[in-house]
């Protein structure tokens, strides 16, 4: 008897603890202009870039009363293309959006995904995050020029580490730099790490000659002086980081990682307009401004059609690089 009691108590406890966070809250009525019960698909694991962007945006929107009942859920897999496949499959669903970014563009090629981002309904580009070219404090390289000279002389032994798999932002950036300085991308000895964190250890320990990664995870180390930034990949310098841009260092490349929001294909014009509208309003809220500042993101808002044009161009650019490497 006591066994049964315990089993039921344990089951009830589990249900109480676990069911609420796992279930979608039901729709309830709200004022007009507000979007209600929106599901946000995150195509990578909790803690990843798209995840933080989605959760931050959803929270800012709820705080600013633009949105009610946002449910952020993760469907990771294959560099985001599993989630993309799901989004494209949900044709006409105006209550679903997907958080995405540059990484998904490349993953479509490397994973030979049947769905492309061009199949989706672009809602808005939200943020940009520049990459940095970084070495440990004991590295022999003190300037981009020095690094490029050594790299050109010996592309095999000047190893470059990045926090993303082939096709991802940290992989594309060094390939674009190599192309710009006249190195064939195929000669680049790129070593992928499982995220910026694992790469950080290899840069600090001097295992790789230099690293290319998003600036976010590295700020503290840079401030502590254990890392040296040789260049930032964005068009402008980054406040708080004492390093020139690539162009200022004589490398004609401008590259930023970006993230945005897309919706399934074939949604109604009303739904589309509503979603674009809510993100346009998000961008003006103090909550969002505060979130940008906290995460070190650059505002790069581009709504609807503007985002579509941008997406098409990025798609071409990524395809060119990956074709050189035999990955697309």
């Amino acid at each position: 008897m006591s066994v049964k009691v315990w089993v039921s108590v344990a089951t009830a406890l589990l249900a109480v603890l676990l069911v609420p966070p796992l279930l979608t809250p039901g729709a309830d009525s709200g004022e007009s202009g507000q979007v209600r019960s929106l599901r946000v698909l995150v195509p990578n694991a909790p803690g990843g870039g798209y995840d933080i962007t989605a959760r931050t945006a959803a929270k800012a929107m709820e705080d600013a009363d633009l949105l009610r009942n946002a449910e952020v859920f993760n469907l990771p897999g294959a560099g985001g293309t599993v989630g993309l496949g799901r989004t494209v499959g949900e044709r006409g669903n105006g209550k679903l959006i997907m958080s995405m970014g540059l990484g998904v563009v490349g993953a479509v090629y490397t994973n030979k995904s049947p769905s492309s981002l061009l199949d989706t309904t672009p809602i808005a580009k939200l943020i940009e995050e520049p990459d940095i070219v970084v070495v440990g404090k004991d590295s022999p390289y003190t300037s981009m020029q020095q690094l490029v000279d050594a790299w050109k002389a010996n592309p095999g032994t000047v190893t470059v580490g990045g926090g993303s798999a082939p096709g991802g932002p940290d992989h594309l950036a060094p390939m674009l730099i190599a192309k710009a300085v006249g190195l064939p991308p195929k000669t680049v000895n790129y070593i992928p790490f499982d995220g910026g964190g694992e790469l950080l250890a290899s840069v600090l320990g001097g295992k790789v000659a230099f690293g290319v990664s998003g600036v976010g995870e590295y700020r503290d180390q840079i401030q502590a002086g254990t890392l040296r930034v040789l260049a930032v990949t964005s068009g402008d310098r980054i406040p708080g980081i004492d390093a020139p841009t690539l162009r200022q260092s004589g490398v004609d490349v401008e590259f930023t990682n970006w993230r945005g929001i897309v919706a399934p294909p074939g949604i109604s014009d009303t739904d589309r307009a509503k979603l674009v509208e809510v993100f346009t309003r998000l961008q003006k809220t103090p909550q969002w401004a505060e979130a940008l500042q906290r995460n070190g993101w650059t505002d790069a808002f581009a709504p609807g059609d503007e985002f579509r044009t941008f997406l098409e161009n990025e798609n071409k650019r990524v395809a060119t690089v990956l074709k050189d490497l035999g990955l697309a």
């Binding site: 990771p76 496949g85 490397t110 995904s113 964190g197």
Partner: protein, 505 residues
């Protein structure tokens, strides 16, 4: 030291104590469910803590982390269904113990092992944080590969009586480990064009399928032939003999676990496996391994817990997440505008020391809550076998689905489960297959990374002192039987190893 006491003062306030208790309970509850690991738990609960002040939130997260690591072992032992990857090894001996009516002892050995491993690990955080911060980054791919080689040598001790069957099973595991996108080049391997296979097969899905589903099918196939006997529930609590056998493994665990947790790409799977092998070699009851040796539960559990502590060191001092949970916690820190890294101990000293103090408190709470529960949990096994296995299959399915909320994983689990049934039918041990899935991809990645770093030169594998030392150890182990022949007094032959998986349906 004074700061630590301040930390205790902060962590011992009623509110924070409550957060720690909630975290530990939630973590245990979630860890018990297969598929939802501590990483997912922290991510799910992240929004809940938005309104809280950071110290309280992190005390809760630390509780969830340790609780989740612990909860995973409960299902591992009772249902042969590991709740998360650090608990896979615990099932090796824990489940046979449970089936022999020693479930309560296995759970108690796990709980105390977890407590001791965690406490020692946390003490090491306090003592070694600056040292680890300085040297964790010196461990590179060649060193990790050398450790993988050592682990592969150790695999021989789980192959079972028939070497050929053991190796066949290992190869099945290595093949499963090959599936997915090649990380170095982006080429697809054995994915058959399916995006669902591009990330490879999760070790949890393989473990749950081979252990739980395979066994449920096997039991179902034999249910009618054997008379129904419920699993005996022996007396609870550890006997003096048990304690004698477990105290050394408990203390050895942190030695293996803590450094692994602290190094990049270390994790908990490989150290728990190494601990298992080490305990098997060192045990006086080697013949009991495979049939439920308590050392095989105590050692790996203590190791897993200490590795969780090691992970926190690197995350706090370097801002470097070495496991998925640490990555989520790092993200959580960042949402509070706190950047873990070399400056954290100066900038947020109060928070860090309160967090460390709460680790001690959380571990104590875990032990206090779970030790009395062990006999109760163990009674679960009294449920008649058909219902018990139906329940196991249900939990296994929930778990496989929960990993990615994807039907595909469920299908995959049943396919591999059928494979597990076939392996049992033909006497292939399942342990080597699991080890293959864990070690194969890790070894491949580290070897290729080493070679890439040295631009293809083989010297890249041995160009660090640590790698050389590990290889020397490997050589000594390999050639020890040869050397022993020339020693004056030969040791008695090793006890006969068990033959094929013990199935007592």
């Amino acid at each position: 030291m004074e700061q630590l006491l301040d930390g205790f003062a902060t962590a011992l306030t009623p509110t924070h104590l409550l957060f720690a208790a909630i975290g530990v309970l939630l973590g245990t509850a979630i860890g018990v469910l297969p598929g939802i690991g501590p990483a997912m738990a922290v991510a799910l609960l992240l929004p809940v803590t938005y309104g809280m002040e950071p110290t309280g939130a992190f005390i809760m997260f630390a509780g969830i982390y340790y609780g989740g690591m612990f909860g995973g072992s409960t299902t591992s032992i009772l249902l042969n269904t590991p709740g998360e990857s650090a608990a896979v090894v615990t099932a090796f001996e824990g489940n046979p113990m449970a089936r022999r009516g020693r479930g309560a002892q296995a759970l108690a050995a796990a709980a105390i092992g977890h407590f001791i491993g965690g406490i020692i690990g946390t003490i090491l955080i306090v003592l070694l944080a600056p040292f680890v911060a300085k040297h964790a980054v010196d461990i590179g791919a060649p060193d990790l590969f050398a450790i993988m080689v050592l682990a592969f040598i150790a695999v021989t001790s789980v192959l079972g009586a028939s070497r050929i069957r053991g190796v066949a099973s290992l190869l099945i595991g290595l093949t499963l480990g090959l599936v997915g996108l090649d990380e170095m080049t982006g080429q697809q391997r054995l994915t058959f064009g399916s995006l669902h296979l591009a990330d490879g097969i999760d070790v949890i899905v393989v473990a749950v399928a081979l252990f739980a589903v395979g066994e449920a099918l096997w039991v179902a196939a034999h249910l009618r032939r054997k008379p129904f006997t419920p699993i005996p529930v022996g007396r609870p609590w550890l006997s003096r003999g048990d304690l004698k056998r477990t105290w050394k493994p408990w203390l050895r665990g942190p030695v293996i676990g803590f450094p692994f947790g602290a190094i990049p790409a270390g994790g908990a799977e490989i150290p728990t496996f190494l601990s298992y092998v080490a305990e098997k070699r060192l045990s006086r009851h080697r013949d009991e391994f495979g049939k439920g040796a308590i050392e095989g539960v105590a050692g790996p559990e203590s190791t897993a817990s200490a590795s969780a502590a090691g992970t926190l060191v690197t995350m706090l001092t370097l801002g470097l997440p070495t496991t998925a949970v640490a990555a989520v916690m790092l993200a959580a820190f960042q949402t509070y505008g706190i950047q873990p890294g070399p400056l954290l101990f100066q900038r947020e000293a109060g928070l860090v020391w309160a967090l460390i103090a709460s680790l001690f408190i959380g571990l104590t709470l875990l032990l206090v809550l779970n030790l009395p529960l062990a006999p109760l949990w163990a009674k679960l096994l009294r449920i008649p076998r058909p219902y018990l296995y139906a329940g196991i299959l249900f939990f296994a399915s929930v778990g496989a689905y929960a990993v990615n909320a994807d039907i595909f994983d469920l299908l995959l689990m049943f396919v591999i489960g059928v494979l597990g049934f076939g392996m049992r039918r033909y006497g292939l041990p399942v342990l080597p297959a699991i080890i293959g899935v864990i070690l194969g991809p890790a070894a491949e990645q580290q070897m290729r990374r080493s070679l890439q770093l040295s631009d293809g030169s083989l010297t890249g594998l041995v160009n660090s002192p640590m790698a050389v030392i590990v290889y020397v150890v490997v050589l000594v182990i390999v050639f020890f039987p040869l050397i022993r022949k020339f020693l004056p007094k030969p040791a008695p032959p090793a006890a006969p190893a068990r033959d094929r998986e013990e199935i007592d349906a």
